[in-house]
Amino acid sequence: MMFRRKLLAVFALTVFFSVTAIALLVLALTRHAFETSENQRTAALVAQFQREFNRQGEDIARGVGAIASSEAVGRMATALSATGGDSAGYFDLAQSLAENHQLDFLELVNWRGIIISSAQWPAKFGYPVNGFENLAAANDQNAFLMQEELQDSTPLGVFAVKTSSAGEHPVYVIGGRRLDRTFLSAIDLPVGMRAMLYQNRGDHFSSDWLLDPAGVVDRTRPPEKFAALIEAVRQSHAEMTAKLQWSSDQADDELFRAIPLWGAGKGHTLLGILLIGSSQRSYVELKRHIRDSALLAGGSGVVLAILLSSWVAARVTRPVEQLALAAQAVASGDWNTRVEVDGDDEFSQLADSFNRMTTELLSQKERLVQTERVAAWRELARRLAHELKNPLFPLQLTVENLIRARMQSPQQFDEVFRESSQTLLAEIANLKAIIGRFSEFSKMPQPQLQPVNVNEILRGVAQLFQAQFTAPGREAIECRLELDETVGMIAADPELLHRALANLVLNAMDAMPNGGTLTLRSRRRDGRVIVEVADTGTGLTPEECERVFTPYYTSKQHGTGLGLAIVQSVVSDHGGKISVQSEAGRGTAFVIELPSNSEAMKGSANNDSSPRDQVSG
């Protein structure tokens, strides 16, 4: 991945994760704040319910007390004492008293606990009152919660008990009000909250006992959803909280806290469960708003980060890219490449260093070239001196012999002259040959490419030297051909290629004065043809291997040092390359890689076919 893209990704991810982290943090804080607020609201509502309960209780207690101390009840208590308990005339008294004091429940009970008059169930006269262990003790209690059994229902109510002691025996007044929708409606609920009451009746949850102040059956919110929560409270007898999902929309969810309501009468039983619900809508909507904002901010941030990162990355990476391009140019041989230096930062310093490095490298290269050139000239001079010195010495001896013969024995001069002139001519011819070889190297022709079968050329070379391999007076050389017949044709100059391979074979023969094995191989690799000429001769040292292709360098006594230089020149002119692998004492192998030159081969084929086409045409 490009440095700029990496930098871009790092910037974008940094922004994205930063925004996400902030959004999550805000969400967590919001949730915490909501939970705190909700707990506070629920606690306030519970406290309000308790206050309302207490207020109603006090109101009821006042009303019941007023009834107990009323003239009508006092007269009844007195009359009951006087007439021996005949209470028939008072069986409907409770109804009028309850109506006057706005009580839903009122029972007048004699000292034996028998109902004299019942407002809520007038027909219950004569029956014992239920729900009390000790009526006299209940007189001292505050208002309490109790279930009142009626003809067709068993409502919950807030009750108080007061005693009238006007007669010989006390008369108990038990009064109360229903804990019903009206009661629940009296609780001032904050927006988004609602309170319901479940009457704990029967063994299992029943929606019939769920009291909703709204009083409207909402089909989207079936009361059966409360069953699990109600059952949990009934089992645990402790406050419970549960979230109820009314639909797939989380905003419709409600968090309900269920608070058990205990009766103060006989048994201290679980009479009801107060359900305080809090809508999650505002919280969910806020959460959505935060999420949307975070997404918008995150998206915008990422886009801005990309744009900004692009700009910053471009600024940051431009010197690096310039450096990279310059380095590539240098690698491709353009030593004159320069990087623009702008500013005084690390990149500028790096660019300046690069420029200085390339300048130094160029300088060193020039010095190296110059040094090599001098060395080459020196080698050339040494070779020329060596080559020329050899024929010059016989020439000098021959001329000195002529002079000596002229002076010492003129009669033999002619014979000496004749012999010396022959020697001089021979040596001059030798000089010409030497000069010709140098001239020939300087005039290496450009290859004329044509379809060539490399294997055929290798076979031709082997055939050419076959007689010399087994010539008398020297150890025989075994020539092996390991040719891959699938190498096919390549575009090459067969004459130059033949000459180059012949040079390599000659070198190999020179390297095996004691005989050995010469191996000629061909194969195809990666679309190129590999030709290998290997011997089992004395081998080359690593230094010799490095310099073996240098013109005029030779490790032989009588070599010109141009043979392998010519081979390298031919191979290079064909777009190939040559390398040497050698190990001292075990032989040397020259490996030539030649391209197929298919384009040139097609062109050559067309040129070749055109005349034929013309002939045939």
Binding site: G89, F91, A123, F125, G126, Y127, Q151, D152
Partner: protein
């Protein structure tokens, strides 16, 4: 007529002259105002579908006469028939129609006009007429013919185009069905002109409105419910009650189908605490009963035990499984019925029965398993009363050869054995009157007798 007017004026003058000395002397004139709870739609005495017996019991005798009347002991007394004679075997009867009696439209009553009415009312009877002699022939001996003829639905009425006219002491001046009836004295009444000039009956009044009207002097006579009788008496008002002639009972909608059903009904009958109900809800009024006829009529009602026996009720109930959920219908407009129904349900619950009171807004009790019913005994004649209850409940009255008490008891026993009805109480009919209303009475069967009533000053 002229002669009568002069005599009436003379008598009035004499009575007015004596008025300052004593209230015991009758006074002519004045309009009696009555307020009642019922609101009848018709005054036709032959309309047996009338839901309330007030019309037949108290209004019909003011407008119409029967051939014979019955006294408190159930004995027949002459009315439009001055005398009668039964042939041996009680299959043929001859009645001598009272002479000089005229309908309110002036038509003279003869045996023919009476026969026309009776033939319509009793198609099975063979009725003959000859002048003032009316004969009735029955297919079988009819021991109760006189009692039957004394029933309000057998009052002699003459059908005119707009309404029926009778021969009673008062005639209809104005009639707003269900609201108000205005009567005026029949100057030519065969029993003598009533002291009152007229009677105005306000109908459909609640008991509270009636008491208010009485207190404010807008009514001189009002109905009261039995449970208010004690309180109203204690308040010093003039209260008159009849003998207990209204049967309050639980009437099952369907016949008992199985022995288990009968057992449950028996358990219900045993669970009802009649004594507490009478003491508290009825405020001592009425008589607890387990029989159909009141003791004052039959003489043997005491043998039917009215005591609640919860232990036995539970035992009987425990023989039956499962226990049905009964519904008990009651008149939702009647607070006493509501209390009674709830109390009976409570008693039933104590016995392990399930009884749900249901307020009936209409008169159709078919939707409930049973209902509280009030049946006013139509006659002081025991057989007629029993027959009427049987017809009302839907039980066939067993046929008997004689009209002995033993047969009556057996018939009543047979009716009770059907478990179609559980008698609870016999209640009296009660009225409260202003002190100014004099010389009126309530017969044992609850019939208002205002023929000789008169209005005084109200001072003692």
């Amino acid at each position: 007529m002229k002669h009568f007017v002069w005599r009436w004026l003379a008598a009035s003058s004499l009575l007015l002259a004596c008025a300052g000395h004593a209230e015991t002397r009758p006074q002519y004139g004045g309009t009696l105002h009555i307020a009642v709870h019922v609101a009848p739609a018709t005054l036709d005495p032959t309309d047996v579908a009338q839901s309330d017996s007030f019309v037949g019991r108290s209004i019909t005798p003011l407008i119409f006469d029967t051939l014979v009347n019955t006294d408190d002991a159930g004995r027949a007394q002459p009315a439009l028939a001055a005398s009668w004679q039964a042939a041996p075997g009680n299959t043929r009867w001859q009645f001598q129609i009272r002479r000089g009696v005229r309908f309110h439209d002036g038509t003279l009553l003869t045996a023919d006009t009476a026969a026309v009415f009776l033939r319509i009312a009793h198609p099975s009877w063979k009725i003959g007429s000859d002048g003032y002699l009316l004969s009735i022939e029955c297919d079988s001996p009819d021991f109760d013919l006189l009692g039957e003829l004394s029933l309000p639905q057998n009052a002699i009425a003459k059908k005119n185009t707009d309404r029926s006219v009778g021969t009673g002491p008062f005639y209809i001046v104005d009639w707003l069905p269900g609201k108000k009836l205005t009567l005026a004295a029949n100057e030519d009444y065969w029993g003598g002109r009533p002291f009152l000039d007229g009677i105005e009956i306000e109908m459909g009044k609640s008991f509270r409105d009636q008491m208010n009207a009485l207190d404010l002097g807008r009514a001189e006579l009002v109905e009261i419910v039995p449970e208010q009788m004690r309180q109203i008496s204690q308040e010093g008002r003039q209260v008159v009650t009849s003998s207990p002639v209204e049967l309050l009972a639980l009437q099952f909608t369907r016949d008992a189908q199985t022995p288990e059903d009968k057992s449950l009904r028996e358990a219900l009958a045993l669970s009802v605490d009649r004594a507490s109900i009478r003491s508290v809800l009825l405020q001592g009024a009425g008589q607890p009963t387990a029989g159909i006829l009141p003791n004052w009529m039959s003489g043997y009602a005491f043998v039917f035990s009215t005591d609640a026996d919860l232990e036995r009720a539970r035992h009987v109930r425990e023989q039956v499984r499962p226990i049905p959920n009964w519904t008990l219908g009651y008149d939702g407009r009647d607070p006493l019925e509501r209390l009674l129904a709830e109390r009976i349900a409570l008693n039933a619950k104590d016995a392990g029965l399930s009884l749900q009171p249901v307020a009936l807004q209409t008169a159709s009790p078919a939707a409930t398993d049973m209902r509280l019913t009030e049946i006013t005994l139509a006659s002081t004649d025991t057989w007629i009363a029993l027959d009427q209850v049987a017809a009302s409940v839907g039980i066939p009255l067993p046929s008997t050869k004689t009209r002995s008490v033993e047969d009556l008891y057996a018939a009543e026993q047979a009716m009770l054995a059907t478990q179609k009805i559980i008698p609870l109480f016999h209640l009296p009919i009660c009225y409260a009157a202003a002190p100014s209303l004099q010389h009126w009475n309530l017969r044992a069967d609850g019939t208002l007798n205002l023929t000789n009533a008169w209005l005084g000053s109200g001072k003692p």
